[in-house]
């Protein structure tokens, strides 16, 4: 269900889960567009030689996925902040699940706070954080 007005937002409501496209082809497109065309993001073998578990999804791409999830839920929301803590790397070609849940609503200002988590299939949290978004009344 899409959210268009603040009155539709409830404390504790879960945003629809978002499964990002973490394929090497998609990450390569992002890395080139962002000017981050480093082998650590685009080449599993080269990344492993650097001691990494594989090519990594760039942090700003993960933040982009989080923003996409928010806009899937509330297309008109103005994202003021996406604040992330990276606990463990997210590896290209692995499956991740992005979840969000409303944890604070300021009825006066229209600001909604959302807990964000990126988990893998083992339900381990790889990235967590919060977003502050403005939703019109």
């Amino acid at each position: 269900m899409s959210i268009n007005h603040l009155s539709e937002v409830e404390f504790g409501v879960e945003l629809p889960t978002f499964q990002p496209d973490t394929s090497l082809a998609n990450v390569k497109k992002f890395a080139i567009a962002a000017g981050w065309n480093s082998p650590r993001f685009t080449d599993h073998e080269a990344a492993r030689k650097e001691g990494l578990p594989g090519a990594l999804i760039p942090g700003i791409m993960s933040q982009g996925f989080l923003s996409a999830m928010i806009h899937n839920w509330a297309p008109g929301a103005e994202i003021r902040l996406v604040d992330t803590i990276f606990r463990a790397p997210c590896v290209v070609d692995e499956r991740y699940h992005i979840n969000g849940v409303v944890t604070d609503i300021d009825e006066e200002s229209g600001e909604v706070e959302i807990d964000l988590t990126v988990t893998n299939d083992a339900q381990e949290t790889r990235v967590f954080g919060t977003a502050k978004v403005m939703i019109a009344n």
């Binding site: 803590i85 807990d115 954080g129």
Partner: protein
């Protein structure tokens, strides 16, 4: 009584949760805990008084700290002025033995947390530094554990005869209460928490979160 013994608020550098929202979340989602302990990183929060919030929501809200030693991170319960004078909570290179001795001398309890975690957990340092003296309790269930970390912690606890506690290690609102510790009696203060831990009558829990 069930308490989440390991949580962080916005007072911690990587904490993103407001305490009032933890309370709201616990009640809205009917999380099966009776309260929590705020264990802020490298500090004790001397300023905040959460008693009105605790009363409003019918929860126990206590304060502790999470400090850093050569064996990794350590929760400290029962922090008082004397303990804060005994060592520098902001020092990231504390000696675990010093922390434990200071806790013993000042009516507090030290509990190595997420001991199965690489780098910041106690088990990773046993080969280099040996078995530390004075540890009696470790955190065996941590809500932020990945892979085999909790199993490593439990295995170490079993081998060394340590008791185990549980804590969510929540940094965001929705993670509160993922793990906790069940005590046989009521706990309403830091002093009562220390007595309960010293009484050794508790068990670690993992708590399933309902949607």
């Amino acid at each position: 009584m069930i308490l989440d013994l390991h949580a962080h608020s916005i007072k911690s550098d990587d904490g993103r949760a407001k305490v009032q929202n933890y309370c709201q979340w616990i009640r809205a989602k009917e999380i099966a805990i009776d309260g929590f302990v705020l264990t802020e990183h490298r500090q004790f929060d001397n300023e905040s008084d959460y008693s009105p919030l605790a009363a409003k929501h019918g929860l126990t809200i206590l304060k502790g700290a999470e400090v850093e030693t050569q064996y990794g991170h350590v929760l400290v319960f029962g922090v008082n002025d004397a303990l804060q004078a005994a060592f520098d909570f902001t020092n990231i290179n504390l000696r675990l033995e010093q922390v434990i001795e200071a806790c013993h001398a000042n009516g507090a309890v030290a509990v190595p947390c997420h001991p199965g975690r690489k780098r910041v957990g106690m088990a990773a340092h046993l080969e280099e530094f040996g078995i530390p003296k004075g540890v009696t309790i470790v955190e065996v269930y941590n809500g932020g554990s990945r892979g085999e970390e909790d199993q490593v912690a439990q295995h170490m606890a079993d081998e060394q005869g340590y008791l185990g506690i549980g804590g969510s290690d929540a940094h965001i609102v929705s993670h509160i209460g993922r793990c906790a510790t069940e005590f046989s009696g009521d706990i309403r203060s830091e002093l009562e928490l220390v007595e309960a831990l010293q009484g050794r009558d508790f068990k670690a829990l993992k708590i399933k979160q309902e949607d």
